[in-house]
């Protein structure tokens, strides 16, 4: 497999809850809205014809409000909930077609999951919680404790290995959850609203922790959240989900700059544009009455980070992409964007 082929391919994935889910997909019923369909058939569409790819090493965020189907989607991807239809290909293998044994093997080695409410075992010490995935895979005690100890150090749980989950704060408990998900060294991690149950300050720490772990280990991550700030912070790309369907997929900057519809626009309104947009999005032609500064800035630089240079220059600065200028930005442009009421 070549390096740039996707790690995960989701193709036309459906999940319909109800007595006769097969009667919905591929018929004219599939085009009804959720409430219409429920009124007509009693079925609920939780995931509607979802397709996307995730590249190796990418952090892919699925973001939506409660009831949008994002939790069902991530459970379909791990087959904790059986999807009704579609294809789900991890490194070339359609995991919807594998049998129970192979599925367990994949779960033990290939991907792992972090849960909103941690899902720790209250009757086990931290170290045995973390070693649990190795234990069920038949790894001997000495070896799995050695590996667990490595992961404990990796996630900053030093000194807590003999504690019980109840004795830890929420943030520390979720570190145990992260460590457990890393223990079997999977290629893919699914994180289902991992920090939603934490206090805001701790949440911020944990977001940074995930970013750090991602830099160090380079795991492919599918990250579910309802918090757009969080999505923008950790995500390489964000998929916005509503009523079971993906509305728009893109980088944070793409979503902010070109929201596909009113719903996405409303969503991204609260994001500070200067934090996600790059200079590319505000570059404009040099006016005749201006003269550009001698410095140049890269088009993919986040506006916020360009701010000091732009302010110091007192003149428009050329924005360069691929060696040639695509326009200029001036202090007024940047300040106008920062000051703009969304």
């Amino acid at each position: 497999m070549s390096a740039d082929s996707p790690m995960i391919q989701v193709k036309n994935l459906w999940k319909v809850f109800g007595s006769n889910p097969d009667k919905v997909i591929g018929t004219e019923l599939a085009s009804l809205t959720r409430s219409e369909l429920r009124a007509k058939t009693g079925n609920t569409v939780a995931v509607r014809d979802v397709s996307f790819d995730v590249a190796p090493g990418e952090v892919f965020v699925v973001m939506g409000l409660s009831g949008s189907g994002k939790s069902t989607l991530v459970r379909c991807m791990t087959r904790l909930i059986e999807p009704t239809a579609g294809e789900l290909i991890f490194s070339g293998e359609d995991i919807l077609k594998v049998d129970g044994n192979r599925l367990r093997e994949l779960r033990r080695t290939k991907f792992s999951m972090v849960f909103q409410h941690f899902g720790l075992l209250p009757h086990r010490k931290v170290i045995d919680n973390i070693a649990y995935p190795l234990e069920i895979n038949g790894v001997g005690k000495a070896e799995r404790h050695k590996r667990a100890q490595e992961v404990i150090e990796l996630v900053g749980l030093n000194g807590y290995s003999e504690a019980y989950p109840e004795q830890l704060s929420g943030g520390m408990q979720q570190r145990v959850g992260l460590a457990r998900a890393l223990a079997a060294d999977p290629e893919i991690m699914f994180l289902d609203e991992p920090f939603s149950a934490l206090d805001p300050l701790i949440r911020r720490d944990m977001q940074s922790e995930v970013i750090r772990l991602h830099h160090e280990l380079g795991k492919t991550m599918v990250f579910i959240t309802h918090d757009l700030q969080e999505a923008a912070k950790v995500g390489d790309r964000i998929a916005i989900m509503r009523d079971g369907a993906l509305i728009q997929v893109g980088t944070p900057a793409e979503l902010v700059a070109n929201p596909k519809d009113e719903y996405v626009a409303n969503f991204v309104r609260d994001i500070a544009k200067s934090h996600v947009l790059t200079l590319r999005y505000i570059a404009r032609p040099l006016r005749s009455d201006e003269s550009a500064a001698t410095v140049e800035l890269d088009a993919d630089l986040i506006i916020r980070e360009a701010l000091p240079t732009v302010l110091e220059a007192h003149r428009p600065i050329h924005v360069v992409s691929g060696g040639s200028s695509i326009g200029v930005v001036s202090a007024e442009d940047v300040l106008a964007l920062i000051a703009s009421v969304n």
Binding site: R104, L120, L121, Y132
Partner: protein, 645 residues
């Protein structure tokens, strides 16, 4: 609009009952189908013949040879192993294999190992108390029977409970059976069991299991189902097999509740083992029954006291063991070391005591040279005499008021009116209260009762059940409101309520019989005492679960306490009230039929006569069946009515 309808319904019912009463006066004593106690109907004769044929086949029918008899022999053997160990002299020995000292030492050791030293001291004291009451051998028999029934119950109940906890389909399959077992009054299955397994240990153990296995299944399955799902889901997501998730996640997490289920199973088994004395189960039930039969309150009290001691002891010891499972965090190393030291010393002492009690006869058979039973018995008798003779207005007066003013009129309406009139009135009432389906069910069940020929006795039992339930509700709801509103009242009454629920119903009969003599009222009073705890608990829980915000809003609007109770708390806990009435009635029915023993007449008396007189065996079996029909009818109507409420 809704209120108006409700008021109209109220008027309708007043009118309806007045009409019913008037009609029953007009047609007094006509077509009542009253049957003398020694009389059989053609139907009871058929059942009697069938029963005779069944017991006649005991030695050669394949059903018996390959099914019932092996079960009976297995259970008898199992019970006898335990009885020989602690209760009865065996193997040419003058005392049981383990004598009294050994039993006390072993039980104290087990209690120490599973909970705290205080609990072990309580166990020792209570066991010595049972011995001092002259009840050692019977206490050991009761313990042996309870232990056997509990072990067998758990062996079935826990695996089935786990199964029902994991599979919705299995739970759905079990639920109606468990429901039925729970509303079945004791007396219903004693006689049929005795028919197939003969009277004695096997029937008593199976009867006990019918009562205690459902409890074990229910609690185990609930324990599995009420687990936090997150760790279970996490385990599956990591590729654990079902077996791994069960053994490493679900069972360890559910352990405390499953042990709590053991406590409930033990208490249920104990209360039943005592009652099973009716079918010749060995143990403390025997002296209670013989005291009831000769109406010696004092001696019954002594035996009852021993039952109470055993009940409290088992309840405290097993629930303490369950509480200890609560924390998932185990004790520290030094705590563990101290505990290990304590346990090994106690273990050595227990072992020594056990060996000594095996070889030294004085440590084997409980010494009978300090008799506290006779003074207690005499004191009780003279106290009861004082109550009955010198303050008779408290006992006889109250009894007469209830009997003449309440019991007789209702009995006239239900039993002494033509049977078809009563039946019609009931069906109409069910139609208005609970709808067509239930009205039809009522019609079918009552017609079935009428068809058995035991209509009159069924109505006598029903009358007593209704009266006892009414009185229970009056007292129980008042106490329930108190308990629900005041934390102090709750902590004050809770020990009594808990004790009331763990005590076998039989034990209450003794003092009440002393007070009121062998009458209908004794059965009713026992029913009330037995069912009040459950009513108080349900009502209290209902009142307590009314949201604080509702009460705050009512208080802010200027309501006084009475208004808050009548306009907010009671209407908001309507469902709890209905449930309490339903449960209360089922509990009352179970006791009322036991009251047949002490002169309440009705179906219970027929069941008891049936078990002692061969020519009435058929009638007794039919009466048991009628009790079942009555129970189902009451339960269904009450449940449907509460759904409508």
């Amino acid at each position: 609009m809704y209120r108006k309808l409700l008021e109209r319904k109220g008027y309708f019912f007043l009118g309806f009952i007045a009409l019913w009463y008037a009609l029953s006066k007009i047609f007094f004593d006509k077509a009542t189908w009253e049957l003398g106690i020694a009389d059989n109907t053609s139907f009871t004769n058929v059942v009697g013949d069938a029963a005779g044929a069944i017991s006649g086949n005991r030695t050669h029918s394949p059903f018996f040879v390959y099914f019932f008899n092996p079960i009976r022999l297995f259970i008898n053997g199992f019970v006898d192993i335990i009885r020989n160990l602690i209760a009865t002299p065996s193997n040419g020995h003058a005392a049981p294999t383990i004598g009294w000292l050994g039993v006390i030492a072993i039980l104290a050791f087990i209690t120490l190992a599973t909970s705290r030293i205080r609990m072990a001291i309580l166990v020792i004291t209570f066991l010595l108390g049972c011995g001092a009451l002259g009840m050692w051998a019977d206490t050991m028999d009761t313990l042996a029977m309870t232990l056997a029934a509990v072990l067998l119950s758990l062996a079935i109940g826990i695996p089935c409970g786990i199964w029902a906890g994991l599979s919705d389909r299995v739970l759905k399959l079990f639920t109606p059976i468990l429901d039925l077992a729970q509303i079945l009054p004791t007396m219903v299955y004693l006689a049929p069991l005795a028919l197939f397994f003969m009277i004695g240990e096997a029937s008593a153990t199976i009867a006990t299991m019918i009562y205690s296995v459902p409890i074990s299944i229910r609690i185990t399955s609930h324990a599995i189902r009420s687990l936090n799902f997150s760790p279970v889901e996490a385990s599956i997501s990591m590729g654990a097999t079902k077996k791994q998730t069960l053994s490493k996640v679900q069972l360890p997490m559910a352990k405390q509740m499953i042990v709590l289920g053991v406590n409930q199973t033990v208490m249920a088994a104990l209360s039943f083992v005592v009652i099973a004395a009716l079918i010749a189960a060995p143990g403390l039930g025997k002296p209670v029954i013989s005291a009831l039969t000769i109406q010696n309150t004092g001696r019954g009290f002594v035996a009852g006291l021993a039952v109470v001691l055993v009940a409290i002891m088992l309840d405290r010891a097993t629930s303490a063991a369950a509480m200890k499972q609560k924390a998932f965090i185990p004790p520290t190393e030094s705590e563990k070391r101290r505990k290990r030291l304590n346990v090994s010393i106690a273990g050595a002492v227990a072992l020594g005591a056990t060996i000594a009690s095996h070889f030294v006869t004085a440590l084997g058979n409980f010494p009978d040279n300090f008799d506290i039973a006779t003074p207690i018995s005499n004191a009780t008798n003279s106290f009861v005499n004082f109550l009955v003779n010198d303050v008779s207005f408290l006992t006889v007066g109250f009894k007469d008021i209830i009997s003449i003013r309440v019991l007789n009129p209702i009995e006239d309406m239900l039993a002494r009116a033509p049977w078809f009139m009563t039946l019609t009135m009931f069906v109409i009432a069910a139609l208005v209260l609970a709808g067509k389906r239930i009205a039809f069910l009522t019609f079918v069940l009552l017609s079935a009762i009428a068809a058995t020929g035991l209509w009159f006795d069924a109505m006598i039992t029903l009358t007593q059940t209704i009266v006892a339930t009414l009185l229970t509700m009056i007292v129980g709801v008042a106490l329930g409101i108190w308990v629900g509103r005041s934390k102090r009242a709750d902590s004050l009454l809770r020990p009594f309520l808990d004790a009331g629920q763990t005590m076998p119903a039989f034990v209450y009969l003794v003092p009440i019989l002393g007070l009121f003599g062998p009458t209908r009222f004794t059965a009713i009073a026992t029913g009330i005492v037995y069912s009040i705890p459950v009513v108080v608990k349900i009502v209290g829980e209902g009142i307590r679960s009314v949201p604080e915000s509702m009460i705050e809003a009512a208080t802010a609007a200027g309501s006084n306490v009475r208004q808050i109770i009548t306009k907010v708390q009671l209407p908001a806990s309507k469902r709890a009230l209905m449930l309490a009435a339903n449960q209360g009635m089922i509990f009352v029915l179970a006791v009322i039929v036991i009251g047949g023993f002490v002169g309440s007449g009705g179906l219970g008396y027929i069941v008891i006569m049936g078990s002692s007189k061969p020519e009435l065996q058929g009638k007794g079996l039919v009466a048991g069946f009628v009790i079942l029909l009555l129970g189902v009818a009451i339960d269904r109507v009450a449940q449907a009515a509460s759904r409508r409420a």
